[in-house]
């Protein structure tokens, strides 16, 4: 019975897929269109490209996008560098039967609420918090240094989450690799370093790319982490958007900024998708 999808069914399939489709159209597509329409007006006025114009001409606006991209880039690189060896240790150095437990332990702290997680870092990095207190006690510094409300704090909060995420994707990828690759490479005379560079690394690139892409999407769109940890000293794109809503009630400008942010993510997605396809071919 290979002809699975028969034409028979009449209205039944439409009744089945209809609700999900309508939901997506009404509460995802329609809001997007509404946002696009509102973005080309000015508050209380008619059609205007002023919002986009403002973004591209006012440094304090486009600076936010650069900040977002910079922070994301830094976070992605640090997270990959920290997560890769960790994933390797979990996958290769820990006995098989402990791996599940080790992974569960690594994920456990992320079951706190996402707002609470950023708050916890604030506790750690505060002026009289755990880190400063310890450093002063050890005599390494005389006075507390400012850690909270800096880009450093934002990056730390992000890295904390993305190290976990990347560890998972890279771990999954490492586990899929057949041990015979390594044996074959060793058999052909490659040392551990060359085996890693020429065999293991290329084969785990897809896992890294998936993790990096997730990092990019989640970090550029996140409001909580930069707001709680970075404060208002340096605005990232989501903070700028929320500022238009919260303080000024400027929906058109917030809409325009949202659409710009989404365009950036879409471009990254397309670039990533193409890259991954080339990898596969």
């Amino acid at each position: 019975m290979t002809q699975s999808a028969n034409a028979r069914g009449g209205a039944v399939p439409w009744v089945a897929v209809g609700p999900a489709l309508l939901w997506t159209l009404a509460f995802f597509a329609a809001p997007f269109i509404a946002m696009a329409l509102v973005s080309v007006t000015v508050k209380g006025g008619g059609f205007s490209l002023a919002n986009y114009q403002q973004f591209f001409t006012d440094p304090s606006y486009y600076r936010a996008l650069f900040n977002s991209l910079e922070v994301t880039a830094i976070v992605t690189v640090i997270s990959i560098l920290l997560a890769y060896p960790f994933a390797w240790i979990l996958a290769e150095q820990i006995p098989e039967r402990w791996q599940r437990l080790a992974l569960i332990l690594a994920i456990l702290p992320f079951w706190t609420s996402y707002v609470v997680r950023s708050y916890s870092w604030l506790l750690v990095l505060a002026e009289k918090g755990v880190v400063n207190n310890t450093l002063v006690q050890l005599g390494l510094i005389a006075e507390p240094i400012q850690l909270a409300n800096t880009r450093f704090a934002t990056v730390t909060g992000f890295v904390h989450f993305f190290v976990m995420l990347l560890t998972l994707t890279i771990f999954a990828n490492l586990k899929q690799l057949s041990p015979s690759y390594r044996k074959a490479a060793a058999d052909l005379g490659a040392g551990p370093v060359r085996t890693f560079l020429h065999i293991i690394l290329p084969l785990t690139l897809p896992g890294i790319m998936v993790g990096a892409f997730l990092t990019f999407v989640l970090a550029t769109g996140d409001y909580i982490t930069p707001q709680i940890l970075g404060g208002n000293n340096e605005l990232l794109m989501p903070q700028l958007i929320m500022l238009q809503i919260g303080r000024r009630g400027d929906f058109p400008l917030a809409s325009a900024l949202s659409i710009l942010l989404m365009l950036v993510v879409t471009v990254a997605y397309l670039a990533c998708a193409r890259w991954l396809k080339i990898e596969r071919a």
Binding site: A16, V17, W23, F28, Q93, T112, S113, V116, Y119, V265
Partner: protein, 260 residues
Amino acid sequence: MRSAIRLATIIYAVLIYGFIFLPVVTLVLFSFQATSFPIPPFSGPSLRWYQAVLGDARLTSALLNSLAVAVISSAVATLLGFLAAWGFARFRLPASALMRGLITLPLTVSYLIIGMGLLVLFNSIGFPKSLTAAGIGHVVINLPLCFAILYSQMGEHQANIERAARDLGAKEWQVLTLVTAPMLWPALFASFFLSMTFSWDEFVISFLLTRFDTTLPVEIWNLLRSGLNPKTNAVGSLVFLVSIAFVLLFELVFFRKSRS
């Protein structure tokens, strides 16, 4: 040489685990603080902040709101995702790939933008900010996930089983309720559970779309305005506890299932 690598490995793993656990340990430890600031030195243990949390009607009602929104929106997302997955897997529909793409599209858009869009839409049609509005947003973010999970589980073997049921006289709704849903029970449960955790943890959509009655993450956010406060630690620790209980339940149900 070998033992040096081994040592480096152990040190590295300990450091990473330390990094991962540092904030949560700090959080839980200072939730037992006796004085008013959750910073060293530790002055507890004391349960006063837990009492303060449980006595705070805003927090407890926010917790119930969060649970209600999570359960209802996850049930809706799972149901819609299940029906759509079944429809696309079992019938040949025109422009199927396009429609499936549309349903999964919200996965690639950040919550902030989804929330913004809904805010603009609801604002323009005069739909008030409410828990219902936030719940609608939560279905938007979870529906693609449920759909993707369930669609991947609808195999050809199950299609034959459904055909057998139809052959023996079952109507479409009987096929769905007596055969397809019980067969896909683990995937349905996983979808529901994942939706629950995402909804439970979601902040920005609830923040944008609710006003007076709100969810727990938003209420915690409001607490943060008063600065560092052991009460926030206590709420956070409680949320942590509830989440871990959820995960344990999930593990138990699944382990029992996979063993039988």
